[in-house]
């Protein structure tokens, strides 16, 4: 049986007294109408859609008035970027990828900003290589045909 739990406002950053809100709130998910219990899925799998089919590391930020999702991810040692799950490719067909595979590959730094119709982004990925060295690859770019519609 599903049951919605209604508590007072979550105010952990307000002093203890006076504080008419909750200071501790565990194992619930905050929603606009209140809180619902955390539901832990014990089985099942996530589906992959569109360009996001071979992801070893992914980060996302929002851009624009409708908070579109701008992603950067690692796919087979290569940095890729996209909007709302659709990959954006280099107009020069250049790729930025690790020369050899290492361990602990991850997108470590990522940021994007809307600039009129354009989106400017910067990505850095790192991996550990044999011998304990850390190898970085970087991609900074600007969308060339972005549009708000």
């Amino acid at each position: 049986m599903k049951e919605r739990i209604v508590f007072r406002n979550f105010q952990p950053d307000v002093d203890d007294l006076p504080n008419d809100g909750l200071e501790d709130c565990d194992n619930v998910v905050h929603e606009p109408e209140g809180y619902k219990p955390v539901f832990l899925e014990s089985t099942g799998a996530f589906a992959t859609t569109g360009a996001l089919t071979a992801v070893s590391s992914i980060v996302v930020t929002t851009v624009g008035p409708n908070f579109d999702k701008f992603h950067a991810w690692l796919d087979s040692d290569q940095i890729k970027v996209g909007i709302n799950g659709v990959e954006i490719t280099s107009s020069g067909s250049t790729t930025v990828s690790f020369a050899t595979s290492g361990s602990n590959q991850a997108i470590c730094f990522f940021d994007a900003v809307a600039f009129g119709d354009e989106i400017i982004f910067t990505v850095e990925a790192q991996q550990d290589e044999v011998g304990g060295t850390v190898n970085s690859i970087r991609l900074t770019g600007r969308t060339t045909d972005a549009a708000l519609g």
Partner: protein
């Protein structure tokens, strides 16, 4: 640069403009795109030609001066650049232990640069988020909110989560 107020973004291609630096954070101040913690100098920011994010002249050249493009190396005493808060007239560049205000003045100076806060900074890239005129960030002391209009910083985690730092 035309301001847009509604709609969803679509795009299929990107380019890497000549001269654009690699960096770890990015923001928009006035009509300029700023890139911070550039790979050649993690204490520096570099910005593009006015109103043109496809044009990144080499700083301190005649071409850069004519387009108000430039760069600024901040004090290494405050750590590397970690975040940039956007603004129409001025913006804020966060280092690990400081915040610097960039105010657009135009001309040959382009931006005045004032260290605004010398204790609290953004501890790491990705630990600042901006919602309109409020920038929420994590320092090595806890959580704070910067009102980018007034310049006031509020310690929103004081007495609570900040006690765990």
């Amino acid at each position: 640069m035309a301001d847009k107020v509604s709609g969803n973004y679509t795009a299929t291609t990107y380019a890497q403009p000549t001269g654009i630096p690699d960096g770890r954070c990015i923001g928009r101040i006035n009509e300029f795109v700023f890139i911070g913690a550039i790979s050649s100098n993690l204490f520096a920011v570099q910005w593009c030609a006015i109103g043109d994010a496809s044009d990144w002249p080499t700083p301190a050249t005649d071409d850069a001066r004519s387009k108000q493009a430039g760069s600024e190396t901040l004090s290494s005493d405050y750590g590397i650049v970690t975040a940039i808060a956007d603004g129409d007239f001025f913006g804020y560049v966060f280092q690990e232990r400081a915040i610097t205000k960039f105010t657009y003045v135009g001309g040959d100076v382009v931006f005045t640069v004032d260290v605004f806060e010398e204790q609290r900074g953004c501890v790491r890239s990705g630990r600042m988020v901006q919602v309109e005129n409020r920038a929420f960030f994590e320092s090595d002391r806890g959580y704070h909110m910067l009102d980018t209009n007034s310049g006031q910083i509020i310690d929103i985690g004081y007495g609570k989560v900040d006690d765990t730092y």
